[in-house]
């Protein structure tokens, strides 16, 4: 191994060093698409859950708190 390669190995933390063999572009393209769909699927599920679970009475509403009309 050359000095440059040794130096490279020393400086780059193991977790950052790519170690997985590259797959075919078609497989990669589909993997990325699936990751995107999954990501937005999760975002949809989280968004709907947050919306459904959101408070029904606003803690900051001056109307609800005091029973008086808004100023």
């Amino acid at each position: 191994m050359s000095d440059a390669a040794l130096d490279y190995r020393r400086r780059i933390p193991r977790i950052v060093r790519p170690s997985v063999t590259a797959s075919s572009p078609l497989l990669i393209r589909w993997t990325l698409r699936i990751v995107t769909v999954l990501l937005f699927g999760v975002a949809t599920a989280v968004g709907v859950n947050l919306g459904i679970g959101a408070p029904e009475i606003s803690p900051t509403s001056v109307v609800h708190h005091d029973g008086v009309a808004s100023p």
């Binding site: 490279y8 949809t44 709907v48 029904e56």
Partner: protein, 435 residues
């Protein structure tokens, strides 16, 4: 400003319609009939600020359809003009809400602040607001000049935290509560905005790092304060990068990994190599001069619309100023027209600032294209870059597509002169990196 394309127009229409709906909801949120006063101001400004914050996240998500369809510099400009407005709306919301609370309870503002901050989600919203204000102050031109790009960029990343901290408060706001469908829509807007950011600002560059294994091959000094970084990698053709485009580069060394810099490719990309050319302008870019061979590179991109695909006219004029030569150098090599009717006008203050001159001369000699160097003080009439002077250089300017990349000052001078002279906007193509 260049004429808006379909994507930009469509996006603006959607954003404005959304803004109108959010503002209307702000008016209607307190119930009908509307009693104008501090609470309405608080609700309308709050809805507008919350909506705007999500839109800003989407605009800066680096989603390819946005970067290609709208253009990086226009997105940055929209962001730069929209973000201060959102901060002002947030402050207006906070102040008006406090006044409304004090009026409704007949207490003074200090007691109202004490009351309000004890409510759920308000402390986090306050922290988010303070972060936003700090970022806004740091982005003021006078402050921005005093801090390094790296510090400013790092501070800017806290925007995500600030927006996230304000979200819970928004969902419980009086404009949305009790309207489950609106709360779901609002939550989805934020979740999708964050998903876009995660997909294109984190996952995509991480994937590219793994797939292309881009790393520094060599750093070559071009002049006293300019250097080229040669990078090698695998399957780089899959990036579909084109001459004239740029990436945001993050060099993974202990000193430089924190910030990403936008630099154009200074040579046409190959299957296994990319090259950028950098001028040292501050501590951050100067630090890149010491990046050792073998350093991994986290690259976001390619971005930018300054490509040969934009050409519509039979002749091309490339205008470069200083280190703005980098995208022009790579375009100059690949724009191949019948009759070789390509002219490169390269402006620099001094002879030694003509970066990559030997390569440009080689390309010109090989392709038969023309290069005009304008060197010396701008007060010199020979270095005039007005539309009239450019007309003299190339003949009929209206028959050209003009590609422009220069310092903000020079680019603005050339652009204004071309527009004043009636040059068609859609024939002017430029990328700006001043943001």
């Amino acid at each position: 400003m260049r004429r808006l394309g379909h994507t930009a127009t469509g996006l603006l229409v959607v954003v404005y319609v959304g803004a109108v709906l959010a503002i209307l909801q702000g008016f209607a949120g307190g119930g009908l009939p509307i009693h104008f006063g501090a609470s309405v101001v608080a609700q309308v400004s709050g809805m507008a600020a919350g909506y705007g914050a999500a839109v800003m996240l989407i605009l800066m998500s680096r989603a390819p359809w946005l970067e290609r369809g709208v253009g990086a510099h226009r997105l940055s400009r929209w962001h730069a003009s929209g973000a201060p407005l959102i901060i002002l709306l947030t402050l207006m919301h906070a102040s008006a809400a406090l006044v409304a609370w004090a009026q409704a309870r007949s207490i003074d503002l200090l007691a109202a602040a004490d009351d309000v901050l004890s409510l759920p989600g308000l402390i986090t919203a306050l922290i988010g607001t303070v972060i936003l204000v700090l970022i806004g102050v740091a982005s003021l031109r006078v402050v921005r000049r005093r801090i390094s790009y790296e510090r400013w960029h790092l501070l800017h990343l806290f925007t995500y935290l600030a927006v996230g901290l304000g979200f819970a408060h928004q969902l419980a706001g009086p404009d949305l509560v009790g309207r489950t469908w609106l709360q779901i829509a609002w939550a989805l807007l934020y979740c999708y905005a964050f998903a876009l950011v995660l997909r294109w600002r984190v996952l995509q560059p991480a994937f590219q790092l793994w797939r292309h294994r881009l790393r520094v091959e060599d750093v070559r000094q071009e002049s006293r304060d300019v250097m080229s970084v040669l990078m090698s990698g695998q399957h780089l053709d899959e990036l579909r990068a084109e001459p004239g485009q740029f990436f945001r580069w993050r060099f993974l060394t202990r000193e430089t990994w924190r910030s990403a810099h936008p630099f154009s490719l200074s040579a046409p990309p190959t299957c296994n190599g990319l090259r950028i050319t950098i001028k040292a302008k501050g501590d951050g870019t100067r630090g890149l001069f010491d990046v050792p061979a073998g350093t991994l590179v986290f690259a976001e991109g390619p971005y930018g619309v300054l490509t040969r695909r934009r050409r519509r006219r039979p002749r091309v004029l490339l205008i470069a100023g200083g280190v703005g030569i980098t995208p022009m150098r790579s375009l100059f090599e690949v724009i191949d027209l019948p009759g070789k009717d390509v002219t490169l006008v390269y402006r620099a203050s001094r002879e030694q600032d003509l970066v990559l001159k030997h390569e440009i001369d080689d390309i010109a000699e090989r392709s038969g294209a023309r290069v005009v160097y304008l060197v010396g003080p701008s007060s010199d009439a020979a270095n005039d870059m007005s539309a009239r002077a450019l007309n003299r250089i190339v003949g009929d300017l209206s028959d050209h597509d003009v590609y422009l990349c220069a310092s903000p000052r020079l680019a603005s001078r050339v652009r204004d002169s071309l527009m004043d002279d009636g040059f068609p906007r859609h024939q002017l193509h430029e990328e700006r990196f001043s943001f």
